[in-house]
């Protein structure tokens, strides 16, 4: 019987053939924690006397959620990670280097790998054809120390996407639409596999946007087969030798197949307070916006910033609307500087922040006031997400966000493109 991508990768790491529903112990290739989850992971290992790393070069501690530190408690938490890195030789990604998921795809994860990370959006690396999934501090701590974990082999939903996007419609609009269809818990415990001609024609950055949000439908990971685009991306990052083709068998068994015609999609928005609360930008046009946030592991890459810069060039944010831009990594930041995007943002009245998670986590750098509305390119709009339960978060593509920053209210970006 044919295998899905999830069954193939998990089987290789379990040392036997597996099928959906099996529970197996697997070796893990890459482990990651961030500054919100890492200190607890380290404390758990200290508690059981297991301060060690099986694979230090591929274990990464990211200081990205509260970076630079906004208060002394978090500064002390950061030092727990720095100390563990010194003791065990694992990699530390310091303040300003960027969001863990972006750094992981740029530098650490390869097709066919298993990655477990103590952050729910670890599913992002699935776009490289790697089985990558979020877990809690203790699961990942044990993964760091022993180089293994237990997994239930997930059933897979195949998302088959055909057709070309219309102008003003992007990968973000596609994934918001898909989550609206599946529901916020419609794929709980499942893997998503994105496939079809539209996916094959996408850049890696666009694919990362899709995989990043798989967890917003409850899924364990969002997989995409590795192909020539993946290969070119790895070559660009200096690890072309790590490429290998990973794809599902033609007769793989899927629990559900969802067909999407990309040419029928419009710019989409998730309205408060759940990601599956989707509408078109047109339907929500006119909603007053106090803050626009462009960045994150979902949409803080070079092409995202380029789309926003093109719309903002020579324009200015609305006087009643703040604009915050946070590149996803230093690499992205440098390229955006060279391309002139950063200058465009500053001239448009934006606050450009250091690479990191920034405003998305609700720790700092853009906490909403009572009753305020934020339109953000991030992946989550839960009540309280941006530091205030009285705030209202809408999610969109960078194009919709940039166009809305100028208008001071939600607009359909096709009006300005």
């Amino acid at each position: 019987m044919g295998k899905t991508i999830a069954e193939k990768i998990i089987g290789e790491h379990a040392g036997k053939e597996v099928s959906a529903g099996d529970i197996v112990i697997v070796s893990v290739d890459v482990t990651a924690v961030q500054d919100g989850t890492g200190p607890l992971a380290v404390q758990q290992l200290e508690k059981i006397g297991l301060v060690q790393a099986k694979n230090p070069k591929r274990t990464v501690l990211f200081i990205d959620h509260a970076a630079p530190s906004p208060n002394k408690d978090l500064s002390n938490a950061h030092n727990i990670l720095r100390k563990f890195s010194k003791e065990t030789g694992v990699v530390l990604s310091e303040v300003g280097e960027g969001v863990c998921h972006q750094r992981l795809v740029e530098t650490y994860v390869n097709p066919g790998d298993i990655l477990i990370g103590a952050d729910s959006h670890t599913c992002t690396s699935g776009a490289l054809g790697a089985f990558s999934t979020g877990m809690g501090s203790t699961d990942v701590a044990i993964g760091i120390a022993l180089g293994k974990t237990w997994l239930r082999v997930p059933e897979t939903f195949k998302i088959n996407v055909t057709g070309k996007f219309n102008k003003g419609v992007y990968a973000k609009d596609l994934i918001l639409y898909v989550i609206g269809e599946i529901g916020a818990d419609g794929a709980t415990y499942k893997a998503l596999e994105f496939t079809g001609e539209t996916i094959r024609n996408m850049t890696m950055s666009e694919r990362f946007t899709l995989s990043n949000m798989a967890v917003e439908a409850g899924a364990k990971t969002g997989l995409i087969e590795s192909d020539e685009t993946t290969k070119a991306y790895l070559e660009e990052k200096g690890r072309g030798d790590k490429f290998r083709p990973i794809s599902a068998d033609g007769d793989a068994v899927y629990e559900r197949v969802i067909e999407v015609d990309a040419s029928e999609l419009e710019p989409m928005i998730s309205a408060p307070h759940t990601v599956d609360n989707t509408s078109t930008a047109k339907e929500l046009a006119g909603t007053k916006v106090d803050q626009v946030f462009i960045g994150t592991c979902t949409n803080g890459r070079l092409d995202d910033l380029g789309i926003a810069a093109e719309i903002l060039k020579g324009k200015h944010r609305h006087p009643d609307t703040r604009l915050i831009v946070t590149p996803a990594s230093q690499d992205v930041y440098l390229q955006a500087l060279k391309a002139g995007y950063i200058e465009t943002f500053v001239k448009a009245g934006a606050a450009v922040m250091a690479p990191g998670c920034g405003a998305c986590v609700g720790v700092h750098q853009g906490i909403l006031a009572d009753g305020e509305v934020c339109l953000a390119t991030q992946n989550r709009n839960f009540k309280g997400r941006m530091g205030n339960t009285e705030g209202y978060i809408y999610l969109s593509s960078p194009a919709t966000a940039a166009a809305s920053a100028i208008a001071g209210k939600i607009v359909d970006p096709r009006e300005v493109l």
């Binding site: 508690k47 509260a66 938490a77 809690g136 501090s137 818990d185 609700g362």
Partner: protein, 168 residues
Amino acid sequence: MEAKLNGKAWKFGDDISTDLIAPGRLFHLRTNLPELAKHVLEDADPEFPKKVQKGDFVVAGSNFGLGSSREHAPTIIKLAGVNAVLAKSFARIFYRNGINVGLPLLICDTDRIDEGDELEVDMSAGIVKDLTKGIEITFSPLPDVMIKILNDGGLAAHIAKYGDFNLD
């Protein structure tokens, strides 16, 4: 783990996210879990941290614990003295985390349970008795691997005991 758990039900709705259980605005308290536990679920019900008593149950709708991977969320529910969380369904990462920190998570039909009902949960029989209403509700058994981890007191304790996974 005790076979029978007794306590009062505190009712919550669907889609209770980890942001509502352990908010991002309290990120700096994550290395001080007893302090963070004083705010458990307060963004879903501001009075909950004051009302909850040792041995009580959190009873919710579907997709409990969606969102972030923060293990602090189930940890502070346990630290607040909660015996178990009953919900129609749990988000995946929260489900693993709850078991890993030794907090029983029971999947059952919670519609018939109301706030304040006295519950008795029989872990081995897989039955929730609503003593206030005089009804019995069955819950789905946990996978065997999770029962083993839970019985060892969580994942860290399991690994400390065997030096490795011992789930067969």
